[in-house]
C-alpha cells in the first residue's frame, strides 16, 4: 500500500527583486517587481511502507520545499498529496502524531535546559504513555550513545551530540513516517557515519518509512536502494540507485599505472582509444564506452608499458553530475 502519494505537486513562491545599492532599496520601497519562483513544478511519486528513499538534487532543487509540503508546513500551489491517508496541510493531530520532520540546520530543543526537558515536553505534546516513553527514550539513547548527556544543558553539547538529541526529540513519539532533511550536515566524518548507521537500524528495526535528503552521496549510497533525483522543481529520475548506474553510466574508467614514460607516438595514439580524464605520470585514467572497455584494456596491455590496470564503474557522484548537466534522462 502506498503510504505517501504525491501527484503533480507544485509550489510557486512570489519573490521580489531589489536592485543593488541604496537607490535600489529606496526604489523598492515604492515599487516592487515580483516574479514567481517555481520551487516545485509538477512532482509525482509514491512511496510504500518501510521504504527508505533518498531525495537528491542540488541546492534550491525543491527537495526541502517538497518535504515541507509533505509535513503540512506549506500549502501547495497545485497538485495532490496524501501522507498516511491525510492531507498534510490540514494539520490534523492524528496525522501529526504519526510523522516527524528533522532538519539538520535547525533545532527544536530548549537551548538553556537539558535535552531531557524537551523530551518530556514532547512526550506530553504527543501524549505518549509513560512506559512507552521510557522504553523509547532508553532505546534511542542507547543506540545513539548519549545516555550520560541527557541531563546536560543543550548549549553545552557539541554539534554532533546536539544532532543526536534532536533526533531523539523527533522520534520520541515513534513516528511511522520520518522526513530527514540534511541530517548529517556540518557533522564530522565519524559523526556522519554514526548518524547513517542509526538511520539504517531505525528503518529496519521499526519498519518506519523514511525520506532522506542529503548533499553527501555517501549517505545515499549507504542507506537508500531507491532514489528520486530532482532539479529545478522537476523529477529527473525515480528508481533504484543501481539502475542509474546501469542506465546512465555508459562509460567505464580504466586506470593504468605505467612502467615508464610514454613516447610521443604513444601519447597521440591514446586519443583514439578513449577520453583521457587524467594523465599525471605514472597514473593514467581513460574513460571508454562500456562495450569497448575490454578491447581497450587488452590493447593497452599489448602496446603500452603497463605495471597495473584496473577497470571501474564511474563514481556515483560523476553519474549524478552528468544527470544534472543536461543529459536528457526521460
Amino acid at each position: 500500500m502506498a503510504l505517501i502519494e504525491v501527484k503533480y505537486l507544485s509550489k510557486y513562491y512570489q519573490v521580489h527583486q531589489k536592485e543593488p545599492g541604496l537607490t535600489g532599496s529606496i526604489r523598492s520601497l515604492f515599487h516592487r517587481k515580483y516574479y514567481d519562483v517555481k520551487a516545485v513544478d509538477g512532482v509525482s511519486f509514491t512511496i510504500d511502507e518501510g521504504e527508505l528513499v533518498g531525495f537528491i538534487g542540488p541546492n534550491g532543487a525543491g527537495k526541502t520545499t517538497t518535504l515541507k509540503t509533505l509535513s503540512g508546513l506549506l500549502y501547495p500551489t497545485g497538485g495532490e498529496v496524501s501522507v498516511l491517508g491525510y492531507i498534510p496541510w490540514k494539520r490534523q493531530p492524528e496525522f501529526q502524531k504519526q510523522f516527524a520532520l528533522v532538519m539538520g540546520q535547525k533545532n527544536q530543543l530548549w537551548w538553556d535546559l537539558p535535552a531531557i526537558e524537551s523530551f518530556i515536553l514532547n512526550k506530553e505534546i504527543y501524549e505518549v504513555p509513560k512506559e512507552k516513553y521510557e522504553t523509547t527514550l532508553n532505546e534511542l539513547a542507547e543506540l545513539l550513545d548519549v545516555k550520560d548527556l541527557l541531563k546536560v544543558q543543550v548549549r553545552k553539547l557539541s554539534l554532533g551530540e546536539r544532532m543526536k538529541m534532536e533526533l531523539i526529540a523527533a522520534l520520541i513519539h515513534s513516528p511511522k513516517v520520518l522526513f530527514l532533511d540534511e541530517p548529517t550536515i556540518g557533522l564530522d566524518v565519524v559523526a556522519q557515519k554514526k548518524m547513517r548507521d542509526f538511520i539504517k537500524v531505525y528503518n529496519q528495526k521499526y519498519r518506519s518509512t523514511i525520506i532522506l535528503t542529503s548533499h553527501y552521496m555517501d549517505d545515499v549510497k549507504e542507506l537508500c536502494k531507491r532514489v528520486i533525483i530532482i532539479d529545478h522543481g522537476k523529477v529527473l529520475f525515480d528508481g533504484l540507485l543501481e539502475d542509474i548506474v546501469r542506465k546512465y553510466a555508459d562509460h567505464k574508467n580504466i586506470t593504468v599505472i605505467l612502467d615508464r614514460e610514454l613516447d610521443r607516438r604513444q601519447i597521440e595514439h591514446l586519443e583514439t582509444l578513449g577520453g583521457v580524464r587524467e594523465f599525471i605520470y605514472p597514473k593514467l585514467i581513460l574513460q571508454v564506452p562500456r562495450e569497448n572497455s575490454n578491447r581497450v584494456a587488452s590493447k593497452l596491455l599489448q602496446s603500452y608499458p603497463v605495471a597495473d590496470l584496473n577497470i571501474e564503474e564511474s563514481e556515483i557522484e560523476d553519474i549524478i553530475r552528468e544527470v544534472f548537466t543536461g543529459k536528457d534522462m526521460a
Partner: protein, 265 residues
C-alpha cells in the same frame, strides 16, 4: 490539558536559568515603584484634590497599577513575532499543539512568576514607605475587580498577538506594530497617568477603545471610582473588543499560514 501544564513548568525552569537577569528585572521594578511613589507624594504634599484624586487614592492607584502591570501587561508572547519571521514557527506547526494556547501558557507562567516576587516586594515597600492606601472592602466590587483583571489579561494577550501576527506579511517588521501597541498601553491604557485627567470629550472617546480596559478600568473599579451604568458599559465594551480581536486573530492566523514560507529551514 497536561501538555500545557508541562509547557508551564518548562517555562519556569527556563526562567530560573538566568537568575541574575531575573534579579535585575525585579530590581528595576522596585526602583520604578519608589520613583513614581515619590513623584506623586511630592505633587500632593499640600493635600487637596487634583483631577478628582486625593493623596490616598492616587498613591493607591500608583501601587495598584504597578502590581497589575506585572500581571496584566507583562508578556513574552512578543517572541512569537520573531518565531514567525525566522521560521521557528515550523516546530510548533508540526506538532499536535495549539500555538495560541502555547504562548498564553508561557505568558501566564511568566506573569505568575513575576507576580509572586512583586507581592513580596510590595509588602516590603509597604512597610518601608508606609503609604496611606485605600483598602476596598466591598466584596462585590472585589469580585468584579478580579473578573476585570482576568479579562484584561486575555485582552492584552490578544492585542499583543494580533500585533505579532503581522510578521506573516512583513517578516522582521512586526516590532513596529509592537512598539505602537506599547505606546498605546502607556498613554491610553493608564500606565503613565490616570485617564480621567483628559478633557471630558477626549476621555469619552478613549473609553471606547480597548486600551483603557487593560489597566485603568480594573484599577478604578478597585478604587470605586466607576459605578452604576459605567460599570456595565465598560464590561460590554471589554467583551466587545475581546470578541473583535479573537475574530481578527483567527483571520490573521488563517491567511498568515497560507502566506507562511517556513523560511530559513
Amino acid at each position: 490539558m497536561r501538555k500545557y501544564l508541562t509547557v508551564f513548568t518548562v517555562s519556569w525552569q527556563n526562567g530560573f536559568v538566568y537568575r541574575l537577569n531575573f534579579l535585575l528585572w525585579r530590581l528595576r521594578s522596585v526602583i520604578v515603584i519608589i520613583t513614581v511613589y515619590y513623584f506623586w507624594d511630592a505633587v500632593f504634599r499640600n493635600g487637596g484634590v487634583i483631577f478628582g484624586y486625593t493623596r490616598d487614592k492616587i498613591l493607591t492607584y500608583v501601587f495598584l497599577t504597578l502590581i497589575l502591570r506585572s500581571l496584566i501587561l507583562g508578556q513574552r508572547s512578543m517572541d512569537a513575532a520573531g518565531e514567525i519571521s525566522d521560521g521557528r514557527l515550523s516546530n510548533y506547526l508540526l506538532k499536535p499543539l495549539n500555538y495560541h494556547f502555547y504562548w498564553f501558557t508561557r505568558d501566564l507562567a511568566d506573569k505568575l512568576l513575576n507576580m509572586a516576587f512583586s507581592v513580596i516586594e510590595i509588602i516590603l515597600l509597604y512597610f518601608i514607605l508606609q503609604p496611606p492606601v485605600f483598602l476596598q472592602t466591598n466584596i462585590f466590587i472585589l469580585i468584579y475587580f478580579l473578573l476585570t483583571v482576568i479579562l484584561a489579561v486575555i485582552l492584552n494577550y490578544l492585542l499583543g498577538n494580533a500585533s505579532s501576527y503581522f510578521s506573516f506579511w512583513t517578516p522582521g517588521n512586526a516590532w513596529g506594530f509592537w512598539f505602537l501597541y506599547l505606546v498605546f498601553q502607556d498613554f491610553l491604557g493608564g500606565v503613565a497617568f490616570p485617564l480621567d485627567i483628559f478633557p471630558k470629550a477626549a476621555y469619552g472617546l478613549i473609553m471606547l477603545l480597548p486600551f483603557p480596559y487593560l489597566l485603568y478600568y480594573p484599577a478604578n473599579i478597585y478604587l470605586g471610582k466607576i459605578s452604576g451604568a459605567d460599570i456595565f458599559q465598560g464590561f460590554i465594551i471589554m467583551l466587545f473588543w475581546i470578541g473583535i480581536i479573537i475574530w481578527l486573530l483567527r483571520q490573521e492566523w488563517r491567511w498568515g499560514l497560507k502566506n507562511y514560507q517556513a523560511e530559513g529551514r
